[in-house]
């Protein structure tokens, strides 16, 4: 059972009226893996997630969740979900919402664990308050607690930080890292590319309902490089930098094994070194590049 991936989705397709929202999307999320789902608005990310979780009927394609076909409700027993549109029963208190979800998940989770879930998202002191009086950000926090409360093995987060303040975003990043440590698989759809780059093992980029690119960060972003800001570069010094690309005084080279040795070498040859920083194409640049190529 645990050999099966957390999510296996194959050739998902969905049309709404005469608009194709998802057009043959396949991907997998390994156990304990954090997968980033990226793409512009309307790319079909939410539709893919909803098909996976049985909220929307795919026109074609198959999904397995944690080793079971997604048409079997039991496949969702260990899945936590924060929808893009997060709303919870306004007439219940935060703790009652969690209690409801625990019961629907068929689990026995004690008061203390529920309180911990709320504390994790910073709502410990609002447990008894009605959700109807919560701000959007607080509701999104509650949604995170709901997604995490029933001991999930897979957590699906659709834009989990859309309503959160900077502090909340940092909390979510910490949450994601702790899920990763605990071996919980995560499917993360977020526009905060910096966060995705920090926590995701792999990325799938959707555009116009298709997979435009996918792979590990290293595969997508290429090898790491080093950026040096230099003046008084002699021909002899340039030779030891070869191969390099140059933009004014900034030279970019493949990341060498021994950075201090390279710098010492350059200084010995009379080069003035102003700055040295590791560099890599950012995921954001790569995303834009993929989307431009695609259009």
């Amino acid at each position: 059972m645990t050999d099966s991936p957390a999510v296996w989705a194959s050739h998902l397709r969905k049309r709404y009226k005469n608009r194709t929202a998802v057009d043959g999307v396949s991907f997998t999320v390994g156990r304990g893996e954090v997968l980033g789902l990226l793409g512009p608005n309307g790319a079909g990310k939410t539709s893919v997630i909803k098909m996976m979780l049985g909220l929307v009927r795919p026109d074609a394609g198959e999904v397995m969740l944690l080793g079971r076909p997604h048409t079997d409700p039991g496949s969702r027993a260990r899945v936590g979900y924060l929808p893009e549109l997060f709303r919870y029963q306004p007439w219940l208190s935060a703790d009652e919402v969690l209690r409801l979800h625990v019961r629907l998940a068929g689990l026995k989770i004690g008061d203390r664990d529920r309180r911990e879930s709320l504390a994790l998202v910073g709502l410990a002191d609002r447990a008894k308050d009605r959700v109807g009086g919560f701000s959007k950000g607080m509701q999104q926090r509650l949604g995170l607690a709901v997604a995490l409360v029933a001991a999930p093995e897979l957590v699906v987060l659709d834009e989990p930080t859309s309503a959160l303040d900077p502090l909340g975003r940092a909390d979510v990043r910490d949450l994601l890292l702790s899920l990763k440590d605990r071996g919980v698989a995560v499917l993360l759809n977020s526009h905060l590319i910096g966060e995705v780059e920090r926590v995701c093992d792999r990325v799938v980029i959707l555009d116009h309902g298709r997979v435009a690119a996918s792979g590990t960060l290293a595969e997508l972003l290429g090898r790491r490089s080093l950026r040096l800001s230099l003046t008084d570069v002699t021909a002899e010094a340039a030779a030891i930098l070869e191969p390099f690309t140059r933009d004014g005084d900034v030279y970019t080279v493949a990341l060498p094994e021994d950075v201090p040795a390279l710098v010492a070498d350059l200084v010995k040859r009379g080069v003035r070194v102003h700055a040295v920083e590791p560099a890599r194409m950012s995921l954001e640049d790569r995303l834009l590049e993929v989307l431009r190529e695609n259009s």
């Binding site: 909220l55 409700p73 969702r76 709303r87």
Partner: protein, 280 residues
């Protein structure tokens, strides 16, 4: 089954915490107070419920008031049924709930059960209160109170099942309005039918019969009325009574009750199919 009961309990909790309950309570109290006043007037005018006229007046007013309750129950549950399904779909509350390891059918059944319990509870409390008022003011006790209340509860259940069906397909407000509109339409068709009966016009009478088959609320309501009124009184005053929308000559047949049950089951299954196919 735990899932169904959990959802049913949640639906009851929702009903009790929403404003619907308060409005229902106020309406009911107003109607009870008005009827208490009305009955005490009848009692003083006729000097007790001895004469035939007073009995007709008493039975008619009792049925009128019970009709008021059935209307309140119908409105209340129909306007609860809408928000509880399509409202949750529209607002997004359904998203997190439906991704738990549960079937949509279980959610639908649970909501339905909760609403039926709510409707039955309301009809029982309001009905019994009304019986007590009638008993205290004009010393009248209906011959079959339990049957009558059960039929009223059945009427409420039939209507809210229809409301649930509509709410799987259209917006919450619209589903409530359409359900209540149909309820009113069959009641009027029922009145038209009984006028046809009284005039001996079979094609006009058909209107009532057909509408009672299409939506059993009016048929169940007539059965309920029949259980609330004194049987001796109808025999006493004879024909002409059929024209009144608030008196009923015949008790319900077993076949009709069976049909009402099948009808409700059919509509609920349709709702389940419709909800199953819906994109959330």
């Amino acid at each position: 089954m735990t899932i169904v009961l959990t959802i049913a309990a949640l639906t009851l909790q929702e009903a009790s915490r929403r404003k619907v309950l308060r409005s229902l309570g106020v309406l009911t109290a107003v109607l009870l107070a008005l009827s208490a006043w009305g009955f005490s007037e009848i009692s003083s005018d006729y000097g007790g419920l001895t004469s035939g006229e007073a009995k007709v007046a008493g039975s008619t007013v009792l049925n009128l008031v019970m009709f008021g309750f059935s209307l309140i129950a119908a409105l209340g549950t129909a306007f609860l049924a809408g928000p509880t399904l399509s409202g949750e779909v529209e607002s997004g509350v359904a998203l997190a709930v439906m991704t738990r390891p549960i079937r949509r059918m279980q959610v639908l059944t649970g909501k339905w059960l909760g609403l039926v319990a709510f409707g039955t509870g309301f009809v029982t409390v309001a009905g019994v209160a009304q019986f007590v008022i009638v008993h205290l003011t004009v010393d009248y006790w209906p011959p079959h109170p339990v049957t009558g209340l059960a039929l009223l509860a059945g009427q409420t259940a039939a209507l809210l099942t229809l409301g649930v069906l509509f709410s799987t397909a259209i917006s919450p407000m619209a589903s409530g309005i359409v359900a209540v509109g149909l309820f009113g339409a069959t009641w009027i068709a029922g009145v038209v039918g009984s006028v046809g009966d009284a005039l001996g016009n079979p094609s006009v009478a058909m209107v009532g019969t057909v509408s009672r088959m299409l939506l059993p609320t009016d048929g169940l309501w007539r059965g309920a009325m029949n259980s609330f009124q004194d049987p001796a009184l109808l025999a006493q005053i004879g024909s002409g009574v059929e024209e009144s929308p608030f008196l009923s000559m015949q008790p319900l047949t077993g076949v009709y009750l069976l049909w009402a049950a099948i009808w409700t089951a059919l509509v609920l299954s349709l709702a389940a199919v419709s909800f199953q196919r819906r994109d959330l």
